[in-house]
């Protein structure tokens, strides 16, 4: 199949399905979702193969070239992000299908729970928008897709319908919109200066002047807000923790990665030559703070989903370390590490949220003390959580380990001991909260808890995802080679002060 078809398909298939599902209000809505998932898998596979074979692909959508048309562009990192989206998306789809059908069958629950009819279109739109974002070749398209993602994500949180979820969703929406508008203001400034929104063209012409710096600052800060980098993470824990079971994983795994991906694109492909290393360093410092703050808060939580959500705050911090480390001679390591960590975190975190969702479904709460001894009843789920935890802690063999190894290698290679220490410390703190859950769940101090039955798919989907994380720590050559394709030029410059 052609790469162009694959790219178009990745965006259009879920979109079309969303429309069909919404309009026809079919009863077999889950089947549509699964069908889309299968198609997406094939498309992603084909696109990845094509990129591996023949390098980055650029396609003008609808035949118009930039600046008028909407060009699509796929290189190694977009392919990796697409793989990530597909992996998490497919498993989430299966999980959601089981979750909602089980809800429908259970009369006690269906009244208070979100309707299946709204979930599917929203999720398919989100999926489409994510794919579109990863394939975007201009900064305005990035804005539009970001907004689409935000709106569908917020709507998905709102599905939960409880007051807590609504408050979280509203807060998230305000934050996200504010971030988008900051970004858009930056886009406006950039366009007025350089007359283009294609980031390829911008990369060629960008100059170090005040307006560019203003634009860069506005865009990046806006995106930081959407990515929930400390200290702008205030909206995240509640939003992710209160979302319905299949949604939390998507939010933490994919939605955050979207805005992070935009930052990566802008920073390394556009602003890298004009931004001083110290600006990148500032982001790294914030990242380090995020790691510590998020981990500590995660440890302090009493609700498992909140714990996992705060863990996301910490993991996002890891992603931002790359900006301070991406300079010669170790820059490539850091870049690969961050990209791979995005992938690893998406899978691991989605798996963790799915497990939390399943157990919450069974027990009726995600309060840790209600989970006492649950691991004796549901060993597979806790095992899955542990596997995901392995990656979050950065322990081998897992994708998280490979990523953290690369980051650590870069940090030490630059003599950045404080960063290295934070990376390691973050892993340890992660161990504290992961094992806090596992420890409680394996406790035999209480009689074995009685739980509601849960569909088999809600056990298997997270396990598959968690296994993927482990496999990602073993089969690494291909993904890392993928990241070489269209990798940004990491300029040779000195390490920040």
């Amino acid at each position: 199949m052609d790469a162009e078809w694959a790219m178009t398909g990745l965006i259009m298939v879920p979109l079309a399905a969303a429309i069909v599902v919404y309009v026809t209000a079919t009863r077999f809505v889950a089947a549509w979702g699964v069908a889309v998932a299968m198609l997406q898998t094939g498309l992603t596979f084909s696109l990845t193969r094509s990129i591996l074979q023949s390098g980055p692909v650029q396609v003008p959508l609808g035949g118009w070239e930039a600046p008028l048309g909407i060009p699509l562009y796929a290189d190694g990192i977009s392919a990796l992000m697409l793989i990530m989206t597909t992996l998490v998306g497919v498993t989430s789809t299966c999980y959601a299908a089981a979750y909602f059908s089980s809800l429908q069958r259970d009369p006690r629950r269906s009244s208070s729970q979100p309707s299946i009819q709204t979930f599917w279109p929203l999720w398919l739109i989100l999926w489409s928008a994510l794919n579109a974002l990863f394939l975007s070749a201009d900064v305005f398209n990035l804005y539009v897709t970001l907004e689409l993602i935000t709106i569908s994500a917020v709507a998905l949180i709102g599905l939960a319908g409880k007051a807590q979820a609504l408050v979280a969703a509203i807060r998230y929406l305000f934050a996200a919109l504010m971030g988008s508008l900051f970004y858009l203001l930056g886009v406006a400034l950039l366009y007025s200066t350089y007359g283009t929104v294609s980031w390829h063209l911008l990369a060629e012409t960008v100059q170090p002047d005040v307006l560019t710096w203003c634009a860069a600052s506005l865009m990046i800060i806006g995106l930081l807000l959407k990515t929930a980098l400390f200290p702008l993470h205030f909206w995240l824990p509640a939003a992710h923790a209160n979302a319905p079971a299949p949604v939390s994983g998507l939010l933490s795994g994919l939605v955050l990665k979207a805005s992070f991906f935009v930052i990566l694109r802008l920073w390394f492909y556009v602003f890298h030559p004009v931004m001083p290393a110290s600006a990148g360093w500032m982001l790294s410092v914030l990242g380090s703070a995020a790691i510590l703050w998020g981990s500590i808060q995660a440890i302090r939580q009493q609700r498992v989903k909140l714990m996992i959500a705060y863990s996301t705050v910490a993991q996002v911090g890891y992603l931002f370390l790359v900006f301070g480390l991406a300079c010669e001679p170790m820059g490539m390591l850091a870049w690969r590490g961050a990209a791979y960590l995005a992938f690893a975190h998406a899978s691991a975190k989605a798996a963790a949220f799915m497990v939390a969702g399943s157990l919450m479904y069974m027990v009726g709460s995600d309060h840790l003390d209600r989970w006492e001894g649950i691991g004796r009843r549901e060993p597979k789920l806790i095992f899955t959580l542990a596997l995901a935890g392995v990656s979050l802690m950065g322990l081998p063999p897992s994708a998280g380990f490979i990523a953290k190894w690369l980051l650590l290698n870069a940090a030490i290679g630059h003599g950045r001991w404080e960063v290295a220490a934070v990376i390691v410390l973050g892993g340890l703190l992660a161990a504290v909260y992961v094992f806090r859950i596992i420890g409680v769940s394996l406790s035999s101090a209480v009689p074995m808890p009685e739980v509601a039955p849960v569909p088999r798919m809600m056990r298997w989907a997270p396990l598959v995802l968690a296994m993927a994380v482990i496999v990602g720590g073993i089969v690494t050559t291909e993904p890392i080679r993928l990241l070489e394709i269209g990798a940004p030029p990491i300029a040779a410059r000195e390490v920040a002060p």
């Binding site: 900051f182 600052s217 200290p231 931004m275």
Partner: protein
Amino acid sequence: MNQILLWTMLVVPLLLAAVVVTRADSPILARLIAWAAFPGVLLALVPPFQIEVPWLLLDSRLGVDAVGRVFLGVTAALWLAAGWYASAYLANDARRHVFQFFFLLTMAGNLGVTVAQDGASFLAFFTLMSLAAYGLIIHDHRAASTRAGRVYLMMTIGGEMLLFMGLVMAFHETGTLVFSDLSSKLALSPLRDVVLGLLLAGFGIKLGVMPLHGWLPMAHPAAPTPASAVLSGAMIKTGLLGCLRVLPLGMIALPTWSDICLVLGLLTCLLAALIGMTQRNPKAVLAYSSVSQMGLVTVCLGAALVKPQAWPVIGSALLVWVVHHGVAKAALFFGVGIAGTRMPSATARYLITAGLVLTALSLAGLPGTMGFAAKTALKYSTANLESWNEALAWLLPLTSVTTTLLVSRYLWLVWPGRHAGHGRLSPGMVIPWGGLSMTVVAGFFVMRWQTLVNPAWTTLAPSDLWIAVWPILIAVALAGTVILVARILPTNVTVMLAAFRIPEGDLVIPLIATIYRLRRRRYRVTAVQLPQRSRRLQQALEETVVPRLVQWLDRMTRSLENDLAAGLLLVLLAVAMLLISMT
């Protein structure tokens, strides 16, 4: 053939021990156990040989050499006798198999020691013997036995460690563990004195040389009689064998070591005899006698160390000592058991009394017994030790006096018929005892045909006779005086005197008490206070540090994670980023 005999000797007791564990109780087994040491006797008769056993331990050498042969012969014979004796002595003991188990293990170790030709296997057999003997010592589980066992174990382990250190260093210095090379190379090594110090101390514990003798007077009385016999007769000799194996005897003079040996030897001999005389348990008396006799052996060693050229003479003198003391002491211990039984007839009593007196006096050097040969050999060995001549001239006869007094004390305590006996006198006990008692005399005459033994020692020249006899006479006179005086003195004085007793194990007793007190104290410190301290730390953490931290985090969370703060931070960050970019 010799090899087969050697392996039979080593393995048979171990196999039997393994069978005994299952509590099999058959007459055949009992017979076998009694005969278990027999291959050892046979092996002592074969010509010297040596085999290499590379797979055993650290490249072992086993074999019989001229010196080892004598040790082996005595040891095997004593174990054989003890085996017979034990089968009768313990016939009615319900925990017979326990005794037999340890008996066999100890035997295997003891026989093994005599054929071990390298340090590692020597140490292995030595340890097997020492540890298994613990089971013999505490066999009857009386409080005294248990305490004796504990002291014995402590000192054994201590000795073990000294030997370990010594051998490690010896190996480092010489590069070999084979005794024949080791001793000659050790003579030339710079660390010789340290190594010898460690090894001699280690062997000295087994040998019971003062001040390392503490365990001996406690353990020997505690063990059942057949065990005491081999403990005293055979096992403590392994200490001597060890010394012979490692000391560069006949090669160089080591005057310092010689002085140490002589002083300690003489001290041991005299003091042990004096302390022994205060004992009331005949076995304790015998134990002190052993200590005392080993003092004389040490004197011989000291002589050999100062006069290497005289080593052939001294060496054979030592062997004579080994044979003599082994046989006589075992016989005396057996005698304790026999004298305590109900005598079937007056004839039997007279015969037994005669046997006891004869053996006892042999120890004192009565002419016509092996003791005489030993005494004479000692005199020959210590002749012409320049600086020591004068001292030895009156000290050695003095030791004869004390020895005689000591055996008199023994005879006094066991004199058949003085106490109402209990238990039947069984032939199983009498025959080994009688055999050994007769050997005391017969051995003397056998020695005359032995090329090993200097003919001068076994000639009964009148001058020698006199020299041998007068100390005995003096001692007998003294003993008589003491008895008379005791009769004359008012009763309350006798009682007072009798109350004066040195406990078995003399010096060791206060030492052990101190150790225990210290340990109990230390236990209180570590076991009780440490947890308390850590609990206090934990409490401090939980009650102040953690809550404060949590409070601070709560405050931080409140002030950071809200809409307003986020909005302000957003602006702040944007401005910061811009400023950073522009600088």
